[in-house]
Subunit: 309 residues, 2 copies
């Protein structure tokens, strides 16, 4: 009998629902608009109907197919309680017991974690971190997220909110962060951080200069765009060198929209990383792009919450 | 049949050898001068003879007593290989296979880790962290060491050198550190860091002003001594707030000579910690002194490497 896991990735704009085999094949994938469901009950109905439909479709060919569980990646997820807690970018306010609500519809184990931790589990189960016991995954999107694996298992922390590397203060009294404090890493190293750097260097920049546009400018030789990526990588490399002192990982994987810029980001990151590393770590720890295909990664990561158990 | 574990704590100056019961009672304790044994073979003979003697003595009352293993806390210890590697403060140079050498004399399991990791294991097994799954121990002596427990187990890292929080860079281009880099936490937060701060504030200070003397001055109301401790605590609190973002611990324990200063250090540390903490951690994480009696702590920590298994 064949088993599949449903992976659900919830973002502020889009939600993706897919079925994933044990070997990491995505056997089905559909999307819906998160904002079309301001009521959580309607959202749960919609995603569980999608999962059931996907399983039914696969059963035409595999009549014995069994749904083993549902893994969900979501912002502000508390993995200990299976809840989404006070997520500023979602319509559902307060504490939402999402794992329980989905479980009541599908009657299989349902687990929840945040998107960066799901990315780390996905890299461990299906990507370049297979077999590794100690590594970091850094997600570089609108913000900066992280998943830390040590002694072979993901660190959740006492309250489920370990791995908030985006909120390590790297510049005391630095840039104002969405969290209300100043100088957090993600105000410098993220798509929005990059744009802030670019605008500081070029106050006349067009309103719609985003990370992708700045990468395109850099490719054409634009000095300010190149310098913006260089500063972003410099700060990232410095922070990763400090991070190594905590868990001494074998490797670090970067993931998310910002890494599409390739060497523009990786080169200054690696240089600053090696420069700032404590001697006994130097030369041993490599920084790689994630090995997961970007369009499948979120669903693979969410499904691996169940497959990783 | 009763079992005991030998705990050996190796410092640059003194080595302590003791026997520890499963409940954490120190049943025997002796010391020797590390520097009296420039040859590692002589040192191993001396400490294993001490262990055998202690076991023999106890057997007068408990003839069935069995030595379960030997745990060793030492600087620059590599727990994966049971070696001491290039320790600048010991006479034995290069890579010393200490666990193997001791094992060849005592014929029981022998394990090695650094003193800060041993302190964390000791706090877990016998101290205030009993039953906790996620906590930090920070040792404040000549330098700053740390042991990180997450998911219920000590983090060793890929190469065995996790938990080097003393070498997180907190002030780019800051004070020169023994590691050759600038601005490491332990150049500000440690007994030597405190003295550097005091001397910066008071260049006329006497040559023999050490951490204890500065604490005594502070108790008499000396403004510069008080300010030195305040700055030390401020930097420690800031760094601990950043550390929380990695592993989200339930509590943080401070250990070592510097904490004898009590509230002189703890008050500014706690204030700076709360001020710099990310909102969702605020008010939940307490900073405590270690619950282990200082004179027994090193032997308890070393023994807990075996008892913790």
């Amino acid at each position: 009998m064949e088993e599949v896991v449903a992976g659900i990735d919830i973002g502020g704009t889009n939600t993706t629902v897919g079925l994933v085999s044990k070997s990491g094949r995505v056997l089905a994938k559909d999307g819906l608009k998160t904002r079309h469901y301001p009521e959580i009950g309607d959202f749960v109905s919609a995603v569980t109907q999608l999962v059931n439909q996907q399983v039914e479709n696969l059963r035409h060919d595999l009549p014995e197919l069994k749904l083993k569980g549902v893994g969900i990646g979501a912002p502000n997820a508390n993995p200990h309680h299976g809840t989404i807690e006070n997520a500023p970018n979602l319509s559902w306010h307060g504490i939402v017991p999402l794992a329980r609500l989905v479980h009541e519809q599908v009657h299989v184990p349902c687990k929840l974690t945040n998107d960066a931790k799901a990315a780390a589990l996905g890299e461990h189960q299906f990507g370049a971190a297979k077999g590794m016991k100690d590594f970091l995954v850094i997600t570089l999107g609108t913000g900066l997220g992280s998943g830390i694996v040590a002694n072979g298992s993901l660190i959740y922390g006492h309250d489920g909110f370990a791995g908030e590397l985006g909120h390590v203060i790297v510049v005391p009294d630095g840039r104002l962060c969405g969290c209300g404090r100043h100088g957090c890493l993600e105000t410098y190293v993220s798509a929005t951080g990059l744009v802030r750097t670019y605008r500081e260097l070029n106050p006349q920049a067009s309103e719609d200069a985003d990370a992708r546009a700045i990468a395109e400018l850099a490719q054409t030789g634009d000095a300010i765009a190149i310098e913006s990526y260089r500063r972003t990588g410099e700060m990232l490399g410095f922070s990763l060198a400090n991070s190594v002192a905590y868990t001494s990982p074998e490797a670090i994987f970067l993931f998310g929209g910002l890494i599409r810029a390739g060497e523009l980001l990786f080169k200054p990151t690696r240089e600053s990383f090696e420069k700032n590393l404590l001697n006994n770590y130097k030369g041993h720890i490599h920084i790689h792009p994630s090995a997961l295909h970007e369009s499948d990664a979120a669903v693979l990561g969410a499904a691996s919450i169940i497959w990783n158990e």
